[in-house]
């Protein structure tokens, strides 16, 4: 009995923490009139999720009583907190210099009252009870939903599953989404108002993501082939359907896919945890910058004029630069890879992180070469037969082409002798060596190939940005690249695409919530890792490792222990 009470109290306290946090970051003030409703819904969701498992074990009355306790506890505390704020604000104390978001509008939103009522301290006694009521009602609703949902699930679970239908739904989904993108693109359609562009972007990204699942859902053989081709055709039309902003976002997403595919070789295949991968991205970008805008670099333009070459125009075009950038990046990979050959795991991680920072610091401080923090300006965009490919749509197309090329190479490598050697050293370095794998050579191969891909991505990135600065190559790029392959699913090529959409695309969709953008994104990252540690679209091998029978039993043992 007491145990059940304590559970309700605990949920109430945790709920209070969550709601207090939302208040402190100023959400109610942002929602204005709808704040009480949203807060009630938040409370309902929280309590519903918390009581989800209780609903399976206990009768409805017990569950509802817990919801009641949680609501009373959480509501009382919230009412006290908000009441204290209101009283302070009403008596003229300025809380804002310390707690930035505790302003009269924010507090007033909790009460559903106009701002002046709080600012001048004109609140009725009943007003102070309102937040408690809001939370209590939300909490009870959550408990009720938990009970009802449990009933519904229990009723449904008896029915037979319909795999064939779900499969076709999954396969049809990307095409439906693509259609929605087209429909929304018509000027006459005004769904979403001023956020229509963002909505379309979201739909386009969902379409790409759904396409990845559709391929997997299709049966091997003819069906999968036909669907892949149809999806590819859909993907190729995408740049022509989207507007400039959406193409710009998709472009950066696929540049990160290129980079992610490279990192996937290093981390996903070979298991070498590289936190300084941005170094190669930067090498690619700066190499292209020197080749296409030598006039921007004091040292280069000096050398060129000393040699009697014209220093005011690109040395090489975008296409001519590609092989040179690839070679430079590969050399960079070997140079930075050699000293760390013997390091393992986290030691490798921190050293590579250091390398990434060293490269950035050199870019920042070798002002003669890189123009320091002022960056290299006016890089040449890619051109083809005199046509400028520098606009967002064509950059997106180039990124798609680059992705296709890299994905093809990565796909073939994974199944080659080298690929198997990578997996071998990932699983057990010593055993792999004992089996005749030349560790140094194989690791350097991984570093060099991964670096090459990152260099290509860097070149395209530089061509897209036109002006590049050392700040574009901070540690956060490495973290993004690593996070995207893990979110997508390690070692999985489609996973990289999905991860890039999540990590680079989602924040752009979340622009609507401007200052809450990063907090929301970070919370999603944590939740995603907890809900799906193997990644959104794991490679088959990885999924079996994590959810295979043998592993399940060891996990159970661990749980029991």
């Amino acid at each position: 009995m007491t145990e059940r009470h304590s559970r309700g109290i605990r949920i109430g306290l945790i709920g209070f923490g969550g709601l207090a946090y939302l208040t402190l970051i100023g959400l109610p003030g942002r929602l204005e009139a709808s704040a009480p409703i949203v807060m009630a819904v938040v409370a309902a969701i929280g309590v519903g999720l918390a009581l989800r498992s209780d609903a399976q074990r206990h009768p409805p009355a017990v569950v509802l009583r817990q919801a009641l306790i949680a609501g009373v506890i959480g509501g009382t505390f919230i009412a006290i907190l908000v009441g204290v704020f209101a009283a302070l604000l009403g008596s003229g104390v300025r809380i804002q210099p310390v707690l930035d978001k505790i302003t009269p509008p924010n507090v007033a939103a909790w009460y559903g009252r106009p701002t002046p009522a709080v600012a001048r301290g004109q609140l009725a006694a009943f007003d102070f009870l309102r937040p408690a009521l809001v939370v209590l009602l939300g909490s009870l609703a959550g408990g009720a939903v938990a009970v009802v949902a449990h009933r519904a699930v229990a009723a449904r679970s008896g029915g037979a599953r319909v795999p064939a239908q779900t499969r076709w739904i999954v396969i049809a989904l990307p095409f439906v989404l693509l259609l929605a993108v087209i429909v929304l693109g018509q000027p006459a359609v005004t769904i979403g108002g001023s956020n229509k562009g963002t909505l379309r972007l979201l739909l386009a990204m969902l379409a790409v993501a759904a396409g990845l699942f559709a391929v997997r859902a299709a049966r091997l053989g003819r069906e999968r082939r036909v669907i892949s081709v149809a999806l590819l055709a859909g993907l190729v039309t995408l740049p022509f359907l989207l507007d400039q902003f959406q193409n710009a976002v998709m472009g950066i997403v696929f540049i990160f896919v290129m980079m992610g595919l490279g990192l996937n070789i290093v981390v996903g295949y070979a298991g070498l945890l590289d936190l300084g991968y941005v170094a190669f991205f930067a090498i690619g970008a700066y190499a292209y910058a020197f080749l296409s805008a030598p006039f921007s670099s004091p040292w280069f333009s000096q050398q060129l004029s000393a040699l009697g070459l014209p220093a005011d125009q690109p040395l090489l075009s975008f296409w001519q630069s590609i092989p040179i950038v690839m070679i430079l990046a590969a050399v960079g990979g070997i140079l930075l890879g050699t000293p760390v050959l013997r390091l393992r795991g986290d030691y490798l991680a921190i050293v590579t992180l250091g390398f990434g920072e060293i490269i950035r610091l050199f870019m920042l401080n070798l002002a003669d070469l890189t123009n320091g923090p002022r960056g290299l300006l006016n890089l040449a965009p890619p051109t083809l037969f005199g046509y400028n490919l520098g606009n967002p749509r064509d950059i997106f197309i180039l990124a798609l082409l680059g992705t296709a090329a890299i994905a093809f190479v990565a796909f073939r490598l994974e199944r080659s002798r080298i690929g198997r050697a990578w997996v071998a050293i990932r699983e057990d370095e010593d055993a792999a060596q004992a089996m005749g794998v030349d560790l140094a050579r194989i690791k350097l191969m991984a570093f060099a190939i991964g670096a090459t891909f990152a260099g290509m991505a860097g070149q395209l990135y530089a061509a897209r940005q036109v002006n590049i600065f050392p700040d574009n190559f901070s540690l956060f790029v490495s973290i993004d690249a690593l996070a995207l392959i893990i979110v997508g699913g390690m070692g999985s090529i489609p996973g990289v695409v999905l991860g890039a959409i999540t990590l680079k695309g989602l924040p752009e969709v979340l622009r609507g919530v401007d200052e809450y953008r990063i907090v929301l994104f970070a919370a999603l990252l944590v939740v995603m890792m907890i809900a799906r540690p193997e990644g959104l679209l794991p490679s088959e091998r990885r999924r079996l490792e994590l959810h295979g029978e043998s592993d399940a039993t060891t996990e159970q043992i661990a749980e029991a222990a």
């Binding site: 018509q186 000027p187 006459a188 902003f245 401080n365 960056g375 197309i397 940005q465 600065f469 700040d471």
Partner: protein, 431 residues
């Protein structure tokens, strides 16, 4: 023979795509506008269903009655310097409020579409494309940082959207090749040179050390100061860098202290400047050295953070014959709306207000109402109107745009801190 057909198909598709991409501009979307990017679906009238927008060519913005005049804003709301970024955004919001309180344009109100440029070129590009893709965006205020502005620049130039940056000080932001690029901030060059002159001639110091925060802005102004000071015949004993966000400067200061300079000049923002001013008191060789910062640090935040150590330090700022009444009125509205003194966050709120003011006044000049009651703004006319601004009374002074888009008012002022407040002792506007 399993895979090749797919591959072949895929390659042919991608090749088709590429060809289509090249062919696209051949279909004239807007023949009258050669500088226009390939028309976007949202922008081009595609059929008879199109709303009653008579002359809605891409070269004009047509605002139907009841809609607002949308001005984009790229602000550094996240990233390394969110405090000045937020200040700039809030300054712009006050300017929009004022413009609306004054009746807007022919009854049309203004709206600020704030986006996070994050002080990075990367985000600047995305924000720029977002504005360019939105046919309702008339003009842009921002970006906060130079790198961010370089991300916006090529895109807005192509989309024919004029922008006015309140705070990007890199000399290359404006130029003859860019008619949409304007700024209210003064280019770094001016400030560094005046500061060097002040230190060498007025203070009479011959031996200084220069520090910077490795940012585009801070290092830029520090380099100009160093070069100008050396040209005057002074000795720069050290040129040392730190990072935005560093809090412990004792090691580089100790190194500088070994040379016993008369003054340390720091290019960077308020927090770092305050910490250097404070920590140099602890370092051997710097007991009697003075400290001088630049406009990025000319804030209340500097005074609050440095505390007693701020006394007697010098700070330069770029401003015009600041209209004191206007500035006071602005600060009053700002505090009423946001609950915080603007100078607690950053130095550029005045410039931000003025860049919006510049845009608003130019829109007032070129906006016309058509027969259907729509407000029509011609983009090219707006670009010219902004560039043609002359004698506009802003809160940082009288704004006049030079032929390359330098619209900042006034000149460099030097302040010293006395009893916890800035007091001007040198430079522009001093009687």
């Amino acid at each position: 023979m399993k895979r090749p057909p797919i591959l072949l198909f895929a390659t042919s598709l991608t090749v088709c795509a590429l060809l289509a991409a090249c062919a696209a501009p051949a279909q004239p979307a807007a023949p009258a506008q050669p500088a226009q990017p390939p028309a976007e679906p949202t922008q081009t009238p595609t059929g008879p269903m199109q709303a009653p927008a008579p002359a809605a060519g891409p070269g004009t913005v047509v605002i139907p009655p009841g809609s607002k005049i949308r001005i984009g804003g790229s602000f550094a709301l996240t990233g390394p310097i969110p405090d000045p970024g937020k200040d700039i955004r809030q300054g712009a919001e006050i300017a929009i409020d004022d413009a609306n309180a004054a009746g807007g344009v022919n009854g049309f109100m203004f709206e600020l579409v704030a986006e996070d440029g994050a002080c990075s070129g990367d985000q600047g590009t995305v924000v720029g494309n977002k504005f360019a893709a939105d046919p309702t965006i008339v003009a842009v205020t921002g970006g906060t940082c130079s790198g961010e502005t370089f991300g916006l620049k090529p895109i807005l130039l192509k989309a024919r959207i004029p922008f006015v940056s309140p705070s990007a000080t890199n000399p290359a932001v404006t130029g003859e090749d860019c008619d949409v690029c304007n700024r209210v901030a003064l280019s770094d060059g001016l400030q560094g040179e005046v500061d060097a002159d002040f230190v060498f001639n007025t203070l009479g110091f011959k031996k200084v050390a220069v520090m910077h925060d490795s940012s585009d802005y801070g290092k830029g102004v520090a380099e100009i100061f160093r070069d100008a000071f050396q040209k005057l015949g002074g000795e720069v004993i050290a040129f040392e860098g730190a990072k935005v966000g560093d809090t412990d400067f004792r090691a580089p200061l100790t190194k500088i202290g070994a040379g016993q300079p008369d003054l340390i000049f720091f290019g960077g923002y308020a927090t770092e400047a305050a910490l250097i001013a404070q920590q140099m008191k602890e370092v051997a060789g710097l007991e009697n050295a003075k400290f001088m910062g630049v406009d990025g640090a000319y804030t209340q935040q500097y005074l609050d953070t440095a505390g007693a150590a701020a006394e007697g330090t010098y700070m330069s700022f770029v401003a015009g014959d600041t209209q004191k009444d206007k500035m006071d009125a602005f600060v009053e509205k700002y505090v009423a709306k946001f609950g915080i003194e603007p100078s607690k966050l950053g130095p550029f709120h005045g410039q931000s207000y003025d860049s919006v003011l510049l845009i608003v006044e130019a829109i007032k000049k070129v906006a016309q109402t058509d027969s259907a009651g729509n407000l029509v703004i011609d983009r090219e006319a707006l670009i010219k109107a902004i560039r043609g601004t002359s004698g506009l009374e802003g809160i940082t002074g009288t704004l006049t745009c030079s032929p390359i888009g330098e619209c900042g008012a006034g000149g460099v002022q030097v302040f010293t801190v006395e009893n916890g407040a800035f007091k001007q002792i040198f430079g522009f506007g001093l009687q």
